[in-house]
């Protein structure tokens, strides 16, 4: 198994592991924004840069997707690596000035504000990491959102910027967004969930017993589609939230027990 030396600390990892995985095993923290355990890394944010020592020649690489193939020597805390990470964070702070999550991460990195003005008129507070898009495409399987355009005017949006017919309002994009730009808004009056800013709305199914909100109708449809049961039957099974369902199940077991005693 190849050995990875990170800032002097040595760990052994499986071949084709990434430097980031090795660092985590060694207990060394490297900032990473567009990194997510379920989605393969594309290294778009560039925050996880480290300095690789190739026996004389040093090179900055992104640790989230650099494959370890043999013994590897890495420096996370070298001046060059720190400077690069700081520079990237400063650019991100200029891009998304309102994100609290980003400011927190910057603070943890020791980056205090940015010398750069916000120069883009385009989608602010989106760092274009692409996590929302990829979770929608690869994990949920809907491809309701995606990139439009290219360069600094690129944005994350829906086809033709209209409410997407493919969106099931599951909220996975909101969960995975590292800067808090995508939000799930609940509309009490209409019983709908809205994914902002994508203009997707869907009716929320509620527990018939306690009234708690469960999932959106399209999500339920999707699940039903996969398990292939008659919708009405499915709806009957899904009319209770997990807690109420447990309660009801416990009650019926108790009833059977009582009957037996009689």
């Amino acid at each position: 198994m190849p050995k990875v030396s990170i800032d002097g600390i040595e760990v052994e990892v499986r071949k084709e592991s990434t430097i980031l995985e090795a660092a985590r095993k060694a207990g060394i923290w490297i900032p990473a924004l567009c990194n997510n355990p379920v989605i393969p890394n594309l290294a778009t944010c560039r925050l996880c840069l480290v300095e690789l020592d190739r026996g004389g020649r040093k090179q900055l690489v992104t640790s989230c997707n650099y494959p370890v193939r043999g013994d590897t020597v890495v420096s996370v805390s070298s001046e060059r690596a720190r400077r690069a990470r700081r520079g990237v964070m400063e650019l991100l702070l200029a891009r998304a000035p309102e994100s609290e999550e980003l400011k927190e991460l910057a603070s943890r990195m020791g980056v205090d504000g940015t010398p750069y003005p916000t120069v883009t008129e385009a989608q602010r507070n989106c760092i274009l990491c692409g996590l929302c898009i990829r979770v929608c495409e690869e994990v949920i399987g809907c491809s309701a959102i995606g990139f439009a355009g290219r360069g600094v005017d690129r944005s994350v949006t829906t086809p033709f910027r209209l409410a997407s017919e493919d969106c099931i309002a599951c909220g996975a994009c909101a969960v995975v967004c590292p800067v808090g730009t995508i939000q799930i808004r609940i509309h009490e009056d209409t019983g709908e969930a809205e994914i902002s800013p994508f203009k997707s709305r869907a009716k929320l199914l509620v527990c018939e017993e306690c009234g708690k909100r469960m999932v959106t109708e399209p999500v339920a449809f999707q699940v039903n589609d996969r398990v292939k049961i008659d919708w009405e039957k499915f709806r009957k099974l899904a009319r209770l939230c997990p807690e109420c369902r447990r309660k009801k199940a416990a009650e019926s077991v108790a009833m059977v027990a009582l009957k037996k005693e009689d």
Binding site: C142, I145, G146, A148
Partner: protein, 165 residues
Amino acid sequence: MKEGIIKEIVNRYNNDDGMLIPMLQDIQAEYGYLPPEQLRVLSKTLDIPLMRIYSISTFYASFRHAPKGQHDITLCMGTVCYLKGSKQISDMICEEYNIEPGNTTSDRLFTLNAVNCVGACAVAPVMIVDRKYYGNMTPESALEIIHKLNLTIEAGDAGKSQKSQ
């Protein structure tokens, strides 16, 4: 509306979604632009998400989502043309016709495109009108050529963009 054109184009490339860009190029050649409705049909025919098609059609600069003018004017903004004044030519045309590069005049006479280098740098600044190259342009000579363009009003000549609507 041309029926079955999308199916024909998809068949042309053996239903291979890896050939999405040539398919879009063929659709644009047919309609003069990419009609949103046709992209929806393409999405269903190929069984790929509409979002994927939209991402591609907005990434590559050659694709249009709105009908173009009867004449196509392309100004080269490559380094040499720029050094020799292509920006002034562009500004002059935009001012006279009240448009921005990439747009079409309100009477649909022409669409003005700005591209980065058409490879005729020796005769910069270059203007291409309906695929014909004009070299050593000045704002005056460029406008002179454009003033000579005619708007053909007859139904048959109204251009493909009309037919597609």
